[in-house]
């Protein structure tokens, strides 16, 4: 419960924060702190410096124009409360409802969750299913990382050590869009043993024009069920073809096995929750 000594700095601009990360090799970014601080208190992580980006006002902004941009330091609570996001992207509030408790949602941030890349986090699957992108700023400027390229492995992302995740962008959706998140939570931690996020787009005739299915909790990193996505593309959604596609969602996934759930059970939960998520996503497409 007592971390090692560390230095704490609270810059007020992104440039300043990036400079601090660049010049202090093992410095870590502090966002909401809900993952990092427990690791430090149990001394599983002992960074010599924390760069608190909570005092940089522009990182908190949420803007909904054509596309959506959510500042990295927007808290779960702020994201869930945004009326525009609720209307345009209801899966965010839907999933945030499953995260922690009110205190956690008031502190935890969307950017922090993605940058930490906990294999059982909820938001990783949500943004992956939404086909978003990450905006990162480093000493050499700003770049966009497609979400499909962002998650590298357990707790590893495409961010460089001296880069800061500044915003999450989600493309504007066209036509009829439906989305849903189904989660089987760990009874102790509340994290996902398995979580499946699905976003479907229907064409004018009601057929599935595009579909993204993202799975969290089951493996070391969030993964897409591309085989099932392809099976559904172009199909008129029905109970049968959704069930058939859902049966394929566990195929090709990298799966974990531990005392919470075996690999076999995780694969099964993926299939069950994928079917439920796809059905609900299709039903919600306006």
């Amino acid at each position: 419960m007592y971390p090692n000594d560390f230095e704490y700095v609270a810059p007020t601009t992104i440039e300043e924060a990036v400079q601090l990360l660049h010049t202090n090799e093992d410095a870590k970014v502090l966002a909401g702190g809900h993952s990092l601080l427990p690791l430090m208190k149990t001394r599983l992580a002992s960074p010599p410096m924390l760069v608190d980006i909570g005092h940089i006002p522009e990182l908190r902004q949420i803007s909904v124009n054509g596309g959506i941009s959510i500042g990295a330091m927007a808290t779960y609570h702020e994201v869930a409360q945004s009326a525009e996001l609720k209307q345009r992207c209801p899966i965010l509030a839907d999933a945030i409802h499953h995260i922690g408790d009110a205190q956690v949602r008031n502190r935890g941030t969307l950017g922090g969750a993605l940058a930490h890349a906990d294999p059982a986090a909820d938001m990783t699957a949500i943004i992956l299913a939404l086909g978003g992108a990450i905006t990162a700023q480093g000493p050499n400027g700003t770049r966009e990382i497609a979400i499909d390229d962002f998650f590298v492995d357990m707790l590893q992302t495409g961010l460089e050590p001296d880069e800061i995740l500044t915003a999450i962008t989600i493309p504007a959706s066209t036509g009829r869009t439906g989305m849903a998140y189904e989660k089987f939570k760990h009874p102790a931690s509340g994290y996902a043993i398995v979580g499946v996020a699905t976003v479907v787009h229907l064409d004018g005739a009601g057929a599935i024009s595009d579909c993204r299915i993202a799975v969290t909790g089951a493996g070391p990193k969030p993964q897409r069920a591309t085989l099932a996505e392809n099976m559904l593309a172009g199909q008129q959604p029905s109970k049968e073809n959704i069930a058939a596609a859902a049966e394929q969602t566990s195929a090709g996934l990298e799966l974990l096995s531990d005392i919470s759930a075996s690999e076999e059970f995780r694969a099964h939960l993926v299939r069950v929750h994928a079917r439920r998520a796809i059905e609900r996503a299709v039903a919600s497409a306006g």
Binding site: M1, Y2, P3, N4, D5, T42, R43, F184, H186, P187, A188, S189, G190, Y191, I259, S260, A261, S262, F265, H268, L269, V272
Partner: protein, 797 residues
């Protein structure tokens, strides 16, 4: 003065707890709130191995860290202190008692065993210094399973305990039971596991120790359920000093569930460190340490056999249990699977032949001792599972088989014949009927049959239980056979001060139960004073009379009765003084509702306040009367009390995922007379949650290397608010004849019944698939696998 209407009785009133405003607004005074000037902070280095020889410990670098005052090892303390005593060597434990020392010497025997203690100017520095201690371990073979530990060739923990056996203990009639089983019409056998649990009080353990060199006196603030007993054991047994050289104080205690009854190594180590450094030393446990090094509960492997007639009469019950007691014997560990388990396995039934064999076993795991219910949840689970299995075998309704075998009201006091004291009073059928009516039993059975046709899995579970509370008559518990070797009485002092305010000092103390409220309710009624005028003091060995501690749901029955008897003595003295004040004969004075008056002439009354003033100023007392209304009672109960009841719950299982949802939970309990219904309901809510959580969520898991895999709240699933149902409570009331209050005890009943109840419901939901038994906890995967195995890999739907 004029007699006004008698005040409303406080006994039985659902008043809010007087403790709560301070506790729920953050104004409590818990262990970590104790801040003494000059306090040093301690941290314990714990073994990463479950079994290893300590070859060497190098503390030089840690000692050299600025701000570190001392680094202490086990060898050093062993020169001054004895190992912790085992205070209840039940079951014939004699020559193989192995208890922990303040810090391990030579060998560590479980992951988390303390190896060294750092004392530093801040907690941060103390933890920094832990990283600088070098320990050279020689790892030894590890055994964690109790049955495997008793097999030839298993790793041995202690030289004096061959095959790791602590004791083999039996009760009941072995021969007669064997004959009854051999000749029975129906016999059912089953192996069942009662998994290990982690008690998880919200406040972890912690101690602040201080030594006064001038007087040689120690003071220790402790998060404790039994400060008087801790003083006795620490002073006389561990330190070898007279007990009046030690004072133990329990401040507000944030839960214990049994785990804070016991003596712990860190108590002894901080006392040593305080004397060594000459400064107060504080140690506060982290949650990780709480899971590793505070005692655990349950962990039984049981083979049960139940025999009956075809028409459902139970003829015999035979139990063989391996009780895993961990690496060392905790303070009362041997008493739990023997006296409080074995002697209670007959439950609420008339069973003519019972035999129980318990093997207590050492293993490379944390110590196991009493945890809420302590032996009775295990006993209830065994007998209720057995009765359900027999019902299934006979095709008989589980409620009906219970009814047919209940001990009848006219049978009390009832002796089960297996060495428990006679059950004091009971009337089991009304509680069962009430629960069945509340749940709508027959309608649910119809609904269940309908649901099954649609592939839905509904289940209903019934548990009728009896437990033992209000422990215990000293003569019984202290006899050599039970091995307690001490009494279990309680004491209380009641004073009515000059102003009429009443101060109760009680040997019984709370760790969340609300003693300050309920004890004041008793006194307000008996003395006829306003409830607000009664103060209850407790938890400090300096200033309160001796008490054995709070556990076994004993405070109201034993401590409450001590208070009640002290008020009776006060009333008697007040009556005598009133006679003098009224110039009447003593035998003509009546004391009612706080007033003494000449019988038939209530207008002449002297109030208790007026009498107290007279007793205090004392210039006009009867010949030979001592001043002050001040009375003490040492109360030794003539019997234990035996609460009972029936719990029923309904569940639905998701056939796709195996996830169990509790639909309704009904509890009809009979805890005797109820002092405060609000507090009793609260105790039941919390208790039910804990047993329900054992059935559905909790379970400590060690791997084969003795590493605790469920070592944090991220891994060990205690229930959150959305994981427990709404509870529907009702009561029947059968007063206990044992004590004048008629109370039985309510602290553990919920836990004792609810694990078996939920288990019964889950197995009932799966019964039509041919599933006869499943071990707890009913995690989704365990249930899913059971369903799948019965369906050839196909979903039920």
């Amino acid at each position: 003065m004029a007699i006004t209407e008698a005040p409303a009785k406080m006994f039985g009133q659902a008043i809010k707890r007087r403790e709560d405003p301070r506790l729920i607004t953050g104004k409590g005074n818990y262990l970590d709130d104790i801040r003494l000037i000059g306090t040093l902070h301690a941290a314990v280095l714990r073994s990463p191995y479950a079994h290893a020889r300590i070859k060497s410990i190098n503390t030089d670098a840690a000692k050299a860290l600025p701000g570190v005052v001392a680094v202490i090892t086990g060898d050093e303390i062993a020169k001054e202190q004895n190992p912790l005593p085992c205070a209840w060597a039940a079951g014939g434990v004699t020559n193989n008692v192995n208890t922990p020392r303040a810090l391990a010497v030579d060998t560590v025997r479980f992951t988390g065993d303390g190896v060294a203690m750092v004392v530093a100017e801040s907690a941060y520095l103390a933890y920094d210094a832990l990283d600088l201690i070098e320990v050279d371990y020689e790892p030894l073979d590890v055994i964690v399973d109790a049955e495997a530990a008793t097999q030839e060739g298993a790793p041995q923990l202690h030289e004096n305990a061959p095959n790791n056996v602590v004791m083999r203990w039996t009760c009941g009639a072995e021969e007669a039971t064997a004959q009854a089983i051999d000749g029975a019409e129906v016999v059912v056998k089953q192996r069942i596991l009662n998994q290990r649990l982690l008690p998880t009080p919200m406040e972890t353990r912690g101690y602040v120790s201080r030594y006064e060199p001038a007087t040689g006196e120690y003071t220790i603030w402790m998060s404790s359920q039994a400060p008087h007993v801790h003083r006795l054991l620490l002073s006389a047994f561990v330190l070898g000093i007279p007990e009046h050289k030690m004072r133990c104080i329990a401040p507000d205690v944030g839960g214990g569930f049994g785990a804070k009854i016991f003596l712990y190594p860190e108590m002894a180590a901080t006392l040593y460190a305080a004397k060594l450094t000459g400064q107060p030393v504080k140690w506060v446990e982290s949650r990780r340490e709480n899971y590793l090094a505070t005692t655990h509960g349950r962990d039984h492997i049981t083979d049960l056999e139940i025999a009956g007639t075809r028409d459902g009469k139970i003829m015999a019950l035979r139990i063989h249990t391996y009780a895993n007691l961990g690496a060392y014997l905790s303070t009362i560990a041997p008493g739990i699977p023997t006296t409080l388990y074995g002697r209670m396995v007959a439950g609420v039934y008339k069973i003519p032949n019972v035999f129980v064999e318990v093997k207590g076993v050492y293993s490379n795991t944390g110590m196991v001792d009493a945890y809420r219910g302590a032996g009775r949840p295990e006993a209830t689970y065994v007998v209720e599972r057995a009765v359900d299995l027999l019902a299934t075998e006979l095709g008989m309704d589980p409620a009906e088989i219970r009814r047919r075998n209940f001990i009848q009201p006219e049978d009390f006091p009832y002796d089960t014949g297996i060495g428990m004291l006679p059950y004091d009073s009971g009337n089991y059928e009304p509680a069962l009927d009430k629960a069945l009516e509340m749940v709508g039993y027959q309608e649910f059975r119809k609904k269940q049959a309908e649901a099954r046709k649609q592939g839905r899995l509904l289940g209903i579970g019934v548990c009728s239980y009896v437990e033992v509370c209000g422990v215990a008559p000293s003569k019984w518990i202290g006899l050599a056979g039970e091995g307690w070797g001490a009494g279990l009485w309680e004491s209380a002092n009641v004073k009515v001060h000059l102003t009429g305010k009443v101060v109760v000092t009680s040997g019984s103390l709370p760790h969340g139960q609300g003693h300050e409220t309920t004890f004041a309710q008793i006194v307000a009624d008996e003395l006829g004073v306003p409830y607000e005028d009664v103060l209850v003091e407790h938890s400090d060995t300096q200033g309160t009379p001796f008490g054995y501690g709070t556990y076994g749901s004993r405070s109201a029955a034993v401590g409450g009765t001590a208070i009640f008897k002290s008020t009776a003595k006060i009333k008697e003295k007040a009556r005598r003084l009133a006679a003098h004040m009224l110039e009447a004969a003593e035998e003509d004075i009546e004391f009612t509702d706080g007033k003494a008056f000449v019988r038939g002439a209530p207008d002449s009354a002297k109030t208790i306040q007026e009498i107290a003033l007279q007793a205090s100023v004392a210039y006009d007392l009867p010949q030979g009367m001592e001043p002050f209304l001040d009375e003490t009672t040492y109360y030794d109960p003539p019997n234990c009390t035996f609460p009972f009841g029936t719990h029923i719950c309904t569940v639905e299982i998701d056939p796709e995922t195996g996830k169990v949802t509790v639909l309704r939970y009904i509890a009809v309990d009979d805890v005797g007379k109820v002092i405060n219904p609000l507090i009793v309901d609260g105790q039941l809510h919390g208790g039910i949650a804990q047993g329900l959580a054992q059935a559905l969520y909790e379970g400590a898991v060690y791997d084969e290397n003795g590493q605790l895999l469920t070592g944090s709240l991220m891994d060990y699933a205690i229930p959150k608010a959305d994981m427990v149902p709404h509870y529907e409570l009702a009561r029947t009331e059968t007063p206990s004849p044992v004590n004048p209050l008629g109370v039985k005890g309510a602290g553990e009943a919920g836990t004792i019944a609810s694990g078996a109840t939920v288990s019964s419901a889950v197995i009932d939901a799966l019964a039509h698939l041919g599933i006869r038994h499943l071990d707890m906890p009913y995690t989704a995967e365990r249930v899913w696998r059971a369903i799948n195995e019965r369906n050839g890999g196909k979903h039920v739907s």
